[in-house]
């Protein structure tokens, strides 16, 4: 029953297989708007898919959104599913989103770490990293958000392969990271890069590897504050806004530091609703409220990006 995109239960957590099947049904239901692209395969050879929302044009300016790079943050992937459906169904109904998609493309990756996600369903619900093997250690996996070429190996990442924040042997050593890097670089026209995590309610901008302000910090701060203001209108959820280093902790090798240094000015990372009382086990009945409030912030950022070309 859940194979049809219209009867899918968005208020439940799903396996990778179900999510991938649902993506096909979304594409089938919205063939003129949504396509599914395979940007590579994971370490364990699972396909890595990106949903492309486009109304046409050639290499239009685009917005990148990824979810689920940390496997155990399940409400992130679930929000990705809900968001994909929201974009597809609101196009043509929501004037602002329609005008956005008439100018720009949106690329949404729902499960950025598919091996880790499967592992959280089958073996260890608290798994965060990839599942790659390294010579010389029995511990597996690299923190894929410490593996980007941005202050790689600096403070806030571990050299210990058994640590949950292990940065890996070299920048982009993880094929999952490398696939995204290659895709974003070869596209060449991304104007915004948004990464969705889930713990402790934050909206962050670069840098994480350094506590120095980025040149665009005042603008990013203002965009972030406007986004969380929109988010909080739905349920009053409170978010903190700031640079990664200043509002959470110094963390090197993160994706949005890499994207910002690549020239993608509007780089943000969300930490979705999760007070910690449930850890990474946010009850399923909070998926839709979380995704709904996050959508208001995402839309706010995307509208700003649309209206401020550079």
């Amino acid at each position: 029953r859940e194979r049809g995109s219209k009867s899918f239960n968005f208020a439940a957590y799903h396996t990778l297989e179900t999510i991938y099947q649902w993506m096909d049904s979304l594409v089938a239901d919205h063939p003129s708007l949504v396509t599914k692209l395979q940007i590579g395969s994971s370490y364990e050879n699972r396909p890595m898919y990106v949903l492309k929302f486009s109304t046409g044009g050639d290499n239009r300016p685009a917005i990148w959104i990824d979810a689920g790079i940390h496997a155990r943050e399940w409400v992130s992937q679930a929000t990705g599913v809900w968001t994909a459906n929201k974009i597809a169904t609101d196009y043509g109904r929501d004037t602002s989103l329609t005008s956005l998609l008439n100018k720009m493309d949106v690329f949404l990756m729902i499960v950025t770490n598919p091996d880790g996600y499967v592992f959280t369903h089958t073996s260890n619900r608290m798994w965060r990293k990839t599942r790659s093997r390294l010579p010389g250690t029995t511990c597996r996996g690299v923190d894929p958000n410490r593996n980007w070429d941005a202050g790689f190996g600096g403070p806030g990442a571990s050299r210990n392969p058994c640590s949950d924040s292990y940065h890996g042997p070299s920048p982009h050593s993880e094929v999952e990271v490398d696939n995204v890097v290659n895709f974003v670089q070869s596209h060449g026209n991304f104007k915004s890069f948004i990464s969705i995590h889930a713990y402790s309610q934050l909206l962050m901008y670069p840098y994480g590897y350094s506590c120095n302000d980025v040149p665009d910090a005042p603008e990013l701060d203002s965009v972030g504050r406007s986004a969380v203001k929109a988010l909080s209108t739905l349920f009053g959820t409170s978010y903190k806004v700031g640079s990664i280093c200043k509002i959470i902790y110094q963390a090197s090798g993160g994706s949005i530091d890499w994207s910002y240094n690549l020239g993608i000015k509007y780089s943000f990372a969300f930490e979705l609703r999760d007070t910690g009382r449930y850890g990474f086990l946010l009850p399923a009945n909070q998926i839709v409220p979380t995704a709904s409030e996050t959508w208001l912030a995402l839309k706010n950022i995307m509208e700003y990006v649309r209206d401020h070309p550079y």
Binding site: A11, Y13, M126, R277, L281, A284
Partner: protein, 93 residues
């Protein structure tokens, strides 16, 4: 499947730089197998640590003997996992 029976998540309210330093030393102790959900970096932020059952006594004694305040945020991680799994099974039915 890995079980987390008796694992707790502690929320530590760090008050001084010295306490931060002490917590950072815990983080480096591989034998304790601690999973830091929020790392010790600032006295403005709490520190969340999933502590395996086998390390609970050591960690709590360490915190108490250093006058570092904490609360038990999640009493038994496995209970939550079981609840979640039951919920998922109910959904799939």
């Amino acid at each position: 499947r890995q079980l987390f029976v008796g694992d707790q998540v502690l929320r530590v309210a760090v008050e001084t730089e010295e306490q931060l330093r002490l917590l950072a030393s815990l983080e480096e102790d591989e034998i304790l197998q601690l999973d830091f959900w929020l790392h010790p970096v600032s006295s403005d932020l709490p520190v969340d640590i999933r502590v395996p059952f086998a390390s609970l006594q050591t960690v709590k004694v360490f915190l108490e003997s250093n006058d570092i305040p904490y609360t038990v945020m999640i009493k038994d991680v496995q209970d939550l996992l079981d609840e979640e799994e039951a919920e998922m099974e109910a959904d799939s039915v």
